[in-house]
């Protein structure tokens, strides 16, 4: 994925939409801030989620962070390989480190940010 072409949430998720399906991950800035990931929990395929629902958790040596859904719909794929390979989330958050794919039940929120907006938002929070 090209980070410049993605949408972002202020809770550090990225979103890529293609053919009514959103791929969701977390950003390199969030992954870098967490450091030393040890555990991830993702939803099962078939689960329905709403915007701002907690859909999973990622834990590092330092802290546990909830994952908030920036989209609404049904989870049609979950990147279960990450549980045994958190390296790929650390190293490639926009590629192999994707988290879930969601068949959208409603259009993307207009409040999602573009890359520049997300970076400005990040700087504000840090």
């Amino acid at each position: 994925m090209d980070p410049q072409s993605l949408k972002y949430s202020p809770s550090d998720e990225w979103i890529h939409v293609e053919g009514g399906v959103a791929t969701v991950g977390i950003t390199e800035l969030a992954v870098h801030a967490l450091t030393d990931l040890v555990y991830i929990d993702l939803p099962k395929v078939g689960k329905t989620i709403q915007v701002d629902d907690v859909f999973g958790v990622v834990e590092s040596v330092k802290a546990a962070s909830d994952l908030y859904s920036p989209v609404a719909g049904e989870v049609i794929e979950s990147n279960t390989r990450l549980a045994d390979d958190l390296e790929s989330l650390s190293k490639d958050p926009f590629g192999k480190g994707w988290l879930i794919k969601v068949r959208l039940s409603q259009p993307l929120s207009a409040e999602l940010l573009d890359r520049a907006g997300y970076e400005a938002n990040w700087d504000q929070r840090h």
Binding site: D36, V38, V61, K62, A64
Partner: protein, 366 residues
């Protein structure tokens, strides 16, 4: 109130440290990240700025006698150069702080937790009447670092005229370091061999940068408070505010070795003597979790529908590559091998009570 800074603040800031508020000090929590810093200490050497630790000097004819009336461990029997772990207890036997007391040739010194320094200074002021003792707080005028790991001694050795391998564990010598006065002790909070060094604040940067420059080629990393916590947890050393607080007594904490009751007087002594063999006391135990999730402070420990304890610290151990925790549990659940569950964010995870410490350093060959 503005945060205190150690003499190395600028160095930390310019070397990528993430600085956080810790007990009123702006301290590095990590430079790179916790795991590599942790592994540097276990495998080679780590350099820690611990200038936030409180350093109190006691002189005067009653210094030893006063400390003996303040601390749970015996002070008068210390040999010159010897260091002892002790607790400061309140009138009900609760733990006000855990400290190291040093007997030096001309003085005694107490190293206290940063988070408790002002509380302990007040406590001392309120208990000193009748003792001829002079107390100085050297925390801001002096600097303290910890150099920890299997390569620590060889790294410091060229900077001092004394033979470091002759300093026994929990002993200190007043010497010179880079030709400036300082104190070297064979102590630490990592479970690894190593030293802690105290020098005047003005000499901090020269000493730090010398160790950093000479240590980098052998794998030294500057280390933050993040890995200090994971290292001490593997070594099962208690941390004030987690395993220790004013409502926990030393016996529950597994620190009976630091409490000498016979023929001694200190705050809470009689209450502790009565509680020493209380069978109802909770116990501090180690837990190994089956999965990789981390049991963090405050999580509940269950056996079936019964709540049996509370987690005080937990982390993912970089050395053992396993999720570890310490907890206080009911005495019936404190037996090694007991199967329990820890509630982590609404889900129960299997865990087993294990022997502490989780990690013991390999015996060094002489």
């Amino acid at each position: 109130m503005s945060l205190l800074r150690t003499p190395l603040y600028d160095w930390h800031a310019s070397h990528g440290a993430r600085l956080v508020d810790f007990a009123g000090w702006e301290m590095p929590v990590q430079y790179s990240s916790i795991v590599p810093e942790h592994k540097a200490v276990r495998g080679a050497c780590g350099l820690f700025d611990i200038a936030h630790m409180g350093r109190l000097r006691f002189t005067g004819p009653d210094a030893a006698r006063f400390l003996d009336h303040l601390l749970t461990n015996d002070v008068s029997s210390l040999a010159v150069g010897q260091i002892r772990y002790s607790l400061v207890t309140n009138d009900t036997g609760g733990i006000l702080d855990d400290v190291l007391v040093y007997r030096l040739p001309q003085s005694h010194m107490l190293v206290v937790n940063a988070s408790n320094r002002l509380k302990i200074v007040d406590w001392i002021e309120n208990h000193r009447s009748g003792f001829d003792v002079v107390i100085e707080d050297l925390t801001l005028s002096h600097f303290m670092l910890a150099l920890q790991g299997p390569r620590a001694l060889e790294l410091l050795q060229p900077l001092v005229p004394v033979e470091l391998s002759q300093i026994r564990y929990y002993h200190a010598v007043e010497t010179t370091i880079l030709s400036r006065p300082g104190l070297v002790s064979r102590t630490g909070y990592t479970g690894e061999d190593g030293v802690e060094v105290i020098v005047p604040a003005a000499d901090a940067l020269a000493l730090w940068t010398t160790l950093f420059d000479q240590g980098t080629p052998i794998g030294l990393l500057p280390c933050g408070l993040g890995c200090r916590d994971t290292l001490r947890l593997e070594a099962a050393m208690p941390l004030y505010g987690h395993e220790l607080n004013e409502s926990i007594d030393p016996f529950s904490a597994g620190l009976a070795f630091a409490v000498k009751l016979e023929g001694r007087e200190f705050p809470g002594r009689d209450i502790l003597a009565a509680r020493q063999h209380d069978p109802q006391r909770r116990k501090r135990v180690g837990l190994k979790l089956a999965g990789r999730r981390i049991a963090r402070e405050g999580a509940t420990v269950w056996i079936g529908i019964q709540k049996v304890g509370d987690i005080t610290s937990g982390t993912f151990s970089p050395t053992l590559e396993q999720s570890l925790a310490m907890a206080y549990v009911d005495p019936g659940s404190a037996v090694e091998g007991t199967a329990v569950e820890v509630e982590i964010r609404g889900q129960r995870e299997s865990a087993t009570v294990v022997k502490l410490p989780f990690y013991r350093r390999p015996v060094t060959k002489c």
